[in-house]
């Protein structure tokens, strides 16, 4: 099992399972929670398999009766069976005589249709019962499998909310998404297909084995040779197909990744004239994928013919030995016939078990990738007895806070800072200075390594995360909207808000203006890619959302960078209204945004290098002065100060 920070190779679901046994047991444990259902399924399947298994035996009686009649008619009427046998021996037909002696014939009497009819009605009843039972079993199993997958899905979903953000930073997003979608689908499909068949096939093999033994241990021995042979064939073929399957999945992964890049970066591909290179590379990958997949398909497809061939060989062997036994009178023709039918039914479930083994491999590989998520370390639980600030005025205090994403790379070092209620704190500094990290710590997206952050005097780690976050509102760098209407996206900020409140927030953030020009207004649907709504407008919607949440502490993280300056001016006016009575942290690149901040914090290399208001800082002619001068007059007198940047993204 890999830890939360561990990276797995990316790829399509269905790669080779790592630890087959424990994962299968874990899957089974999931199914076992449906104990009652599973017991009923087992009973129904066992009963159905038994009925199916004994039916040919009884059907064999019907054939015997018919055969008896056929033979009986050829013998002279009026004699007894013994006389007829003696008569045959006298005429030198010893083999035939032996056979007749073993049969239940009445010379001169034809087929006893009354008896045949009785046997057949019994068989018919058995078949109907078996079908009914097998239907009940499949019906219940469907409930169990669907329920299990549903539960697994909701467990994964619940886990998504309990994982620390560090987890999302370390695992490639594409891979995580693939796990919660592709792998879950794959597992669901393979469970659906294997569990019912596996139960049925294994039980059928067992039942048929018992039936065959009851007819003839000798013939069973011959038939049993098929099992190791079939097993060997399956394993041999699986061993050869496995590397091709692995190659197929890895080629699929690589090809998909390339296609994804080529199409996502389509504009660049065109503008940089890289079409031919991309196509050449794609063609090579495509050929590779083709090569491994046809081989995998071809080789794994050999299981079926191989087992069929073994079945045919087995038939000849059983026929030869069975013929000898019928001739010697030690077995009836009906028995041999029943046996042949059993041995035929025997190879089919064997072949099924073989091909299911492949399918299960892929399902278990997916299950493991899902278990990896479920087993990942969670964020520290909320304190058992959480404290909550007695006031709600939004005083934020950083007390000697240090934090690093990677142990070797200090990001925030011994930072102390106080934001008084209602104050606006502006954070400026070069890329990588730790600005985003600072506000992430307020939200407890990450926990500080040392030091304390206090909210209205209470250590934020002593509060529940929900309590803390309900006091804070945030507008993030990338404007996340979900698939729903514009109205729903704004209302996300406060589920209890009335329509009037939503409208008011929309007006304050200047969303109302452009929404009214859309044909569907607030009911305009936003899809994954935000079709129809521009990047700037998306950002306005996320701002409206924060307006609606009415937090005590407001965090604006480079929030207005893709809004044009005229719109930004409008937003700033609204922000100023919103900021009254609220503590706010603003990260912005445009100094005009933050001129009227109560405190301007200049950060560099995870430390605060300057702190004060606009006029003080200008007068100090320090880092802020340099930034300010560079904005309005160009870089002329900016000294070539180093730009410390961390490799870690913000």
């Amino acid at each position: 099992m890999t830890g939360p920070g561990g990276r797995q190779p990316m790829g399509a679901p269905g790669q080779k399972a790592r630890s087959f046994g424990p994962s299968v047991r874990r899957l089974l444990r999931l199914l076992v929670s449906y104990r009652g259902f599973m017991a009923m399924i087992l009973v129904a399947t066992v009963a159905s398999v038994i009925l199916t298994a004994i039916s040919p035996r009884i059907l064999g009686h019907a054939t015997d009766l018919i055969f008896d009649g056929v033979i009986g008619r050829t013998l002279p009427a009026g004699t007894t069976k013994d006389e007829a046998v003696a008569d045959l021996r006298a005429r030198g037909q010893d083999t035939f005589a032996d056979m007749v002696a073993s049969m239940d014939v009445t010379p001169g009497v034809g087929i006893d249709f009354a008896a045949v009819g009785k046997v057949l009605s019994i068989v018919l009843a058995l078949y109907i019962g078996s079908a009914l039972l097998s239907w009940i079993g499949a019906y219940l199993l469907n409930i169990v499998v669907v329920g299990t997958i549903r539960r697994l899905r909701s467990e994964v979903e619940a886990k998504v909310h309990r994982l620390p953000l560090r987890y999302y930073d370390t695992i490639p997003r594409g891979d995580l998404l693939s796990r919660v979608t592709n792998d879950l689908d794959n597992l669901s499909q393979s469970l659906q297909q294997t569990v019912s068949q596996a139960l049925n096939s294994v039980l059928t093999v067992l039942a048929i084995l018992v039936m065959m033994l009851s007819i003839s241990p000798l013939l069973t021995l011959i038939a049993l040779v098929t099992i190791p042979a079939a097993l060997a064939a399956t394993v041999l073929i699986a061993r050869r197909s496995k590397p091709h399957f692995a190659a197929q999945w890895s080629s699929t992964g690589k090809l998909n990744a390339q296609v994804e890049e080529a199409f996502t970066g389509h504009e660049l591909l065109q503008a940089f004239g890289r079409r031919h290179e991309v196509e050449a590379e794609f063609d090579i990958r495509n050929d590779k994928l083709y090569d491994s997949s046809w081989r995998a398909q071809f080789i794994s497809g050999l299981v079926q013919p191989a087992i069929m061939f073994l079945g045919n060989l087995n038939f000849v062997a059983v026929a030869v030995v069975g013929g000898l036994q019928v001739a010697s009178g030690s077995l009836s023709l009906g028995s041999v016939q029943a046996f042949i039918q059993y041995s035929r039914q025997f190879t089919q479930p064997l072949a099924q078990i073989g091909s299911m083994f492949n399918l299960l491999q892929s399902g278990v590989a997916s299950a493991e990738r899902i278990f990896d998520i479920l087993d990942a370390d969670e964020q520290t639980p909320d304190p058992a007895e959480p404290r909550t600030p007695t006031t709600n005025c939004g005083r934020i205090e950083f007390d000697d806070v240090s934090f690093r994403y990677v142990d070797a790379e200090p990001l925030i070092e011994n930072l102390s800072l106080v934001a008084e209620p209602g104050h606006m704190v502006a954070i400026v500094g070069p890329t990588g200075a730790g600005k985003t990290t600072l506000v992430n710590l307020i939200m407890r997206f990450y926990d500080v390594d040392t030091g304390t952050i206090r909210v209205d005097g209470v250590d934020s780690t002593a509060m529940t995360r929900d309590d803390l976050r309900e006091r804070t509102g945030m507008v993030l760098q990338d404007s996340w909207l979900f698939g729903g209407t514009i109205y729903e996206n704004i209302a996300y900020g406060d589920p209890t808000a009335t329509r009037e409140e939503v409208m008011e927030a929309a007006e304050l953030s200047h969303v109302d203006h452009f929404v009214r020009s859309l044909p569907d207004g607030y009911d305009t649907r936003i899809d994954d890619e935000g079709g129809g709504v521009s990047a700037g407008e998306r950002q306005l919607i996320t701002i409206a959302r924060a307006f609606l949440a009415k937090p005590v502490v407001l965090i604006l993280d480079e929030a207005t960078s893709s809004v044009d300056t005229r719109t930004e001016l409008l937003i700033q006016q609204a922000m100023a209204t919103l900021r009254t009575d609220r503590t706010s942290f603003v990260i912005a690149h445009r100094l005009s945004t933050i001129r009227d901040a109560d405190v301007i914090v200049v950060m560099d290399g995870g430390r605060i290098v300057e702190q004060g208001d606009h006029d003080d800082l200008l007068a100090a002619r320090g880092a802020y002065y340099d930034l300010y001068v560079s904005q309005f007059t160009g870089p002329a007198e900016t000294p070539d100060d180093p730009d410390p940047v961390s490799v870690v993204s913000e």
Partner: protein, 577 residues
């Protein structure tokens, strides 16, 4: 659509198709012949206790089984190569087709949808082909052959098949008819479950910031329950299939024995024929079952084929000229002459009446509010989209008459979204010019103000970059994208809001470094910050797709209302403007 797609691609695999049909035919014939041999062995061997006969016919049976297995193996070979070959060809054509598309066509489908069509959709069609290569030939032969052989061995019993096979067919068809819409519903609900999970993961910070975990969980639970509901419904039908087939098969067998007994009694049928008939019934039923599986898969593959066909049938709106001509003038000139772009069917154009000229060695800045058409204007130059009226000239030649490769090699674009490709820092910079050496890369990084942070990375130029560039910060990403364009040393630079994620000091340093590096080039800069555009030789002010101001900062200030407003919005608060 599915058939049309397959018909279009299958002829290339003519040999495979013929081979599969022939081989499967022989294999299936062998499969059908085997029960006859079984019957023969039972009638003339086992029943008479004639071991020699059993061995002789058993030998024949062995030979037939061998032929069968060989044909099946060879059939698998040709089938797998053919079916997966078609998949490969469709993928190939899709990628090559999409590569001809302009931004307009890509925008119409959406990149994620095009990705799904090229990968998953092709996989579905391919899967159906693999299945069909086996079933489509085998099932009909098995069914018809089974009936024919049944008539052959026991014509008096064959009429039972005439009753039971259609009954089975009708029952299966009925079940599948109910299932197919169920599958559709299930697929749609699966999509929405996956969509919600995707949204939760991409928006995890927003969900947490607004404390909406419980709401998300509730939203997910509804979708999850709906999916489970649909799965249950489809599963119920699926659970019915196997027992029904078995029941019909078994009832048929019982019928054969009952009626067969009578036929044997009157001497019209031999006892061995009974066994053979039972085998044939099993085979026929199996073929119906196989055909049902195919029928279940077909609707999904058909939807996929439709989506693939849509892409293949789409023609690009940016066509290569038949007789491309060269630049008439210094390529470092860009001339907009009444350029207009409008989406087909749209009432109003996105941009129109764009007329201005960018001379070699000058910088033109483009400003305007969100949605004023700045990015569209930029896209017209490298022909990411084509004008719908007027013209854009580069180097004195209409871009539509130039060889697209020649045009684009003269252009260095830094798009609004600084997208990086997976690879290394070096491979991303070399995307601009594949033969650039390390010195040239470092030079480009230096100008782009990216040298220091790349040098600070332990692996330097070989530092791995994740797809999209998510492993570096937004500002670093933009600087690498700028270096990528710089290393190309093009005649025309297009910066589409390329400095937005940079802090002010870096922005300023970058611009001063750019000036000497682009001294002979034509530079177009889309920007928001007044400080970025103030020193431009020419400023184009856009408003709702129209040029409302053209000139230098000092000319426009006070005369152009839109421009003045933009400047005031940024500098009004600052007395030192």
């Amino acid at each position: 659509m599915l058939t049309r797609l397959i018909v279009a691609y299958l002829p290339r695999y003519r040999v495979n198709v013929v081979a599969v049909v022939l081989l499967q035919f022989v294999a299936t014939a062998a499969m059908l012949y085997l029960p006859t041999l079984n019957a023969d062995i039972i009638d003339n061997g086992v029943a008479r206790g004639d071991t020699d006969y059993i061995l002789r016919v058993g030998g024949v049976m062995f030979a037939v089984a061998l032929v069968q297995v060989l044909c099946m193996v060879c059939g698998q070979y040709f089938g797998a190569r053919g079916a997966l070959g078609v998949g490969r060809d469709i993928r190939h054509d899709l990628l090559h087709r999409v590569n001809t598309f302009s931004a307009r066509e890509v925008g119409r489908f959406g990149a994620p949808s095009l990705i799904t069509r090229t990968t998953n959709d092709v996989q579905q069609v391919q899967l159906l082909l693999v299945m069909s290569s086996f079933i489509l030939v085998t099932a009909p032969i098995m069914c018809i052959g089974g009936i024919a052989m049944g008539i052959h061995v026991a014509s008096g019993l064959a009429w039972i098949l005439v009753v039971s096979v259609p009954v089975l067919g009708v029952v299966m068809a009925a079940i599948i008819r109910v299932m197919i819409p169920g599958f559709r519903v299930m697929q749609a609900r699966l999509d929405s479950v996956n969509r919600i999970l995707r949204e939760q993961i991409t928006g995890i910070r927003v969900v947490r910031a607004f404390v909406r975990e419980r709401h998300e969980t509730a939203r997910f639970a509804v979708a999850n329950d709906e999916l489970a509901d649909a799965s249950l419904r489809v599963g119920r039908m699926m659970a019915l299939m196997f027992p029904v087939v078995m029941l019909i098969t078994n009832v048929t067998i019982v019928g054969i024995i009952w009626i067969g007994g009578h036929r044997i009694s009157d001497g019209s049928v031999e006892i061995g024929a009974l066994t053979a008939m039972i085998s044939y019934v099993m085979q026929i039923m199996m073929s119906v079952m196989m055909a049902s599986f195919l029928a279940m898969m077909a609707p999904r593959a058909s939807v996929c084929a439709e989506r693939i066909g849509d892409v293949l049938a789409t023609e690009t709106s940016v066509l290569r000229p038949e007789n491309p001509v060269g630049f008439a003038d210094d390529p470092a000139t860009v001339d907009f002459r009444g350029a207009e772009f409008r989406y087909p069917g749209a009432d109003s154009p996105v941009v129109h009446d764009l007329t201005f000229r960018v001379a070699p060695g000058t910088t033109t800045a483009i400003v305007g509010s969100t949605g004023s058409g700045k990015t569209t204007l930029i896209g017209l130059v490298p022909r990411l989209i084509d004008v719908t009226a007027g013209a854009v000239l580069v180097g004195g030649t209409d871009v539509r008459h130039l060889d697209p490769d020649a045009l684009r090699s003269a252009i260095g674009l830094v798009p609004q979204r600084a997208y990086l490709f997976s690879g290394t820092v070096a491979s991303n910079i070399r995307y601009g010019r594949p033969d650039a050496d390390d010195d040239e890369i470092w030079a480009a990084l230096r100008v782009a103000q990216a040298e220091e942070f790349v040098r600070a990375m332990p692996l330097g130029l070989d530092t791995p970059i994740a797809q999209g560039g998510t492993t570096v910060s937004g500002g670093q990403r933009q600087r690498l994208a700028i270096a990528r364009a710089l290393v190309r040393r093009p005649a025309v630079y297009l910066f589409d809001d390329a400095f937005s994620a940079l802090d002010l000091a870096t922005d300023a340093r970058l611009r001063s470094a750019l000036r000497p590096a682009t001294v002979d080039a034509a530079v177009l800069i889309v920007a928001q910050r007044v400080s970025t555009i103030m020193d431009a030789d020419q400023i184009v002010v856009l408003d709702r797709g129209r040029v409302v101001g053209l000139g230098r900062h000092t000319d426009l200030l006070g005369t152009c209302e839109t421009y003045t407003e933009i400047v005031r919005s940024q500098l009004a608060a600052s007395e030192s403007a």
